[in-house]
């Protein structure tokens, strides 16, 4: 007897619904082309890849303290950035600089934290992009709370929160999804399942059949999507965001993808994965898949490709230029934003420090 066949019980609230139906695991080549969207996705993928390689190069030149690259995951990053409407909010994790850039953040400003400059470079309210979040999964309850607040205010918007496969093990993931479902908050959780949490493979992270299955326990739909298929991710996100805006509640989306680079420039990925595995995934590079598909549908020619690459180079050059100097920070900044008004204690300390500078 399965759950749905159970007899009613004094405590049962409604008939028990069957577990949600995950999204078809679509792979490029199986969908109908969108002549507006797909070329845009392609251009952003190309720009995104260039952004990743440029940022990694800047770590080697000492211009960035660290860079957690999303190379290989650009389909997710680009789709996340583009699926959002202007009133929507993005809650990125520490790896999602690119999604923030695609959503509209200045490419250099998005790197403020990673440059060793101030913790956040942009005004979250202006851009509707929360600060990049380092402690894993901790931003998910924020996303839920913000979505809930917007709903209470009857503002027509949805929130997209990003997290990695590793982050799904944290208690905050659980609590956020549970709150979202109970409150029917307009929030979409996108898990970029790249198979690893630094060195720890998914099999040591969870025994669930898929991360999308985790939705079942919260009473929200779970969707599984090919995370290297940009239109598929875009499609899944757009649908879930629309659902959220329509008051139908949250969705959990798992996008299966792969991080082609090491965890960060400081990581040595050869310690925990094989070249063969990386090669297999390189063959499923989201850029290659997208380009092949566009060409097959006659939506891209050499000139178009060249144009996309030139635009990407312009972004890279601008980034190099913007990060060529040193950020402006003075020791006084240490004390300015701890509270709305510095306490007398902080005023004393600022004064003392000034004597040393």
């Amino acid at each position: 007897m399965t759950v749905s066949e159970l007899p009613a019980h004094p405590l049962s609230r409604t008939a028990v619904p069957p577990p949600p139906d995950p999204e078809p695991y679509r792979v490029l080549g199986t969908g109908r082309p969108d002549p507006e969207l797909w070329p845009l996705l392609y251009r952003e993928l190309v720009r995104g890849r260039r952004y990743n390689t440029q940022a990694t190069a800047l770590t080697r030149q000492g211009r960035l303290a660290v860079y957690p690259s999303s190379t290989g995951q650009e389909a997710c990053q680009v789709a996340a950035g583009l699926a959002l409407g202007p009133r929507d909010w993005l809650f990125p994790s520490y790896r999602d600089t690119l999604a923030a850039v695609v959503r509209g953040l200045d490419p250099a400003v998005a790197l403020t934290l990673l440059r060793g400059d101030w913790h956040t470079g942009h005004d979250p309210r202006v851009h509707r992009v929360a600060p990049l979040c380092t402690p894993l999964a901790t931003q998910l309850p924020h996303a839920v709370g913000l979505a809930h607040a917007a709903r209470l205010r009857r503002d027509d918007l949805a929130v997209l929160a990003l997290v990695g496969d590793g982050g799904t093990s944290e208690g905050d993931f659980h609590e956020a999804l549970n709150f979202a479902a109970v409150w029917r908050a307009p929030v979409v959780f996108l898990v970029q399942n790249n198979g690893y949490a630094i060195s720890v493979p998914l099999a040591k992270q969870t025994a669930a059949p898929s991360i999308a299955h985790k939705a079942v326990g919260y009473g929200m739909p779970g969707r599984l999507v090919d995370g290297n298929d940009a239109p598929a991710v875009h499609d899944a996100l757009t649908g879930a965001l629309a659902r959220a805006r329509a008051g139908e509640g949250p969705t959990l989306i798992e996008a299966v993808t792969y991080r082609l680079d090491a965890h960060t420039n400081a990581d040595d990925a050869t310690r925990y994965r094989t070249e063969a595995e990386v090669a297999a995934w390189r063959a499923r590079d989201p850029l290659t898949l997208m380009e092949r598909e566009l060409r097959a549908h006659g939506l891209l020619d050499d000139a178009g490709a060249a144009e996309a690459h030139e635009a990407a180079e312009r972004t890279a050059a601008a980034l190099r230029e913007a990060l060529s100097g040193d950020p402006e920070l003075t020791p006084d900044d240490l004390f300015t934003h701890v509270y709305a008004e510095p306490t007398s204690q902080l005023r004393e300390q600022a004064e003392r420090l000034r004597e040393f500078s």
């Binding site: 956040t120 309210r125 924020h142 913000l146 809930h148 209470l152 609590e175 709150f179 300015t336 934003h337």
Partner: protein
Amino acid sequence: MTTATRGRSGTAEVSLAKALNRALRDAMADDPTVHLLGEDIGALGGVFRVTEGLAAEFGEDRCTDTPLAEAGILGAATGMAMYGLRPVVEMQFDAFAYPAFEQLVSHVSRMRNRTRGAMPLPLTVRIPYGGGIGGVEHHSDSSETYYMATPGLHVVTPATVADAYGLLRRAIASDDPVVFLEPKRLYWAKEPLPERPADVPPFGRAVIRRRGDSATLITYGPSLPVCLAAAEAARADGWDLGVIDLRTLVPFDDETVCAEVRRTGRAVVVHEAAGFAGPGAEIAARVTERCFHHLAAPVLRVTGFDIPYPPPLLERHHLPDVDRVLDAVARLQWDLG
């Protein structure tokens, strides 16, 4: 309301819990962005009844029973504050705020600073704290030390009915996160409170509850009545003890405290939290730094012991009482005075 409990000019005797309830009510009535979140704060009115009647008056969207998950509550409140609301979170007991510690330390306390001032976080976390009510383990912690040691938080604790009302209004109105510590054992203490209470001073102002020239007792929250009683008892021994109620631990009122200690030359800090690395350590250290040559004796501390909070049948030995306060006063090297 009966005339029996009502004084002149609309001033009635109310309990500290009721004063908090009125502060919440008035704040919610004045400002539609104030939202309460917590466990059992709706129909039940909170286990200490501090939110009684608020769900009925303002609706469940303004006074919300959440799922049972403290990190989730504080995290969701953080998101709501990011959107411009003023959430007030109730943690059911001191020790049950610990699951939310990560959210408090890594996010709530830092959001303004992380964003260079772009994203202030007006959020109040109400936490019933301290012992003396016979609570079983995990129901009587004095957790203020953790919050004091976390830059970016205001840490506030009332010891009187008027302060309960006034400081909670200030906490909710603050543009910064406030950990608002409610002394459990004083919830039922009654004092007159006017219908429209006057504003209390801004955070960072201690108040001299009793003037005294021999020595100064420095305290806050649940230990204020103990100190006042000790001061009263000390008169028999010829000591004229002053009592300072700090009211806010962060920011700290160096001015008031140091002025008094310079005058008396002797001080004892009294609190329930464990002594080692507790609030009294900071207070003794900073007072000594600033008043060293005025001190006739080291600043002493009367505190809870450095132990997990004891079972109810032993708690009276753990908690500072009049005897232990007077003993410390006696050790203030009067022969040298």
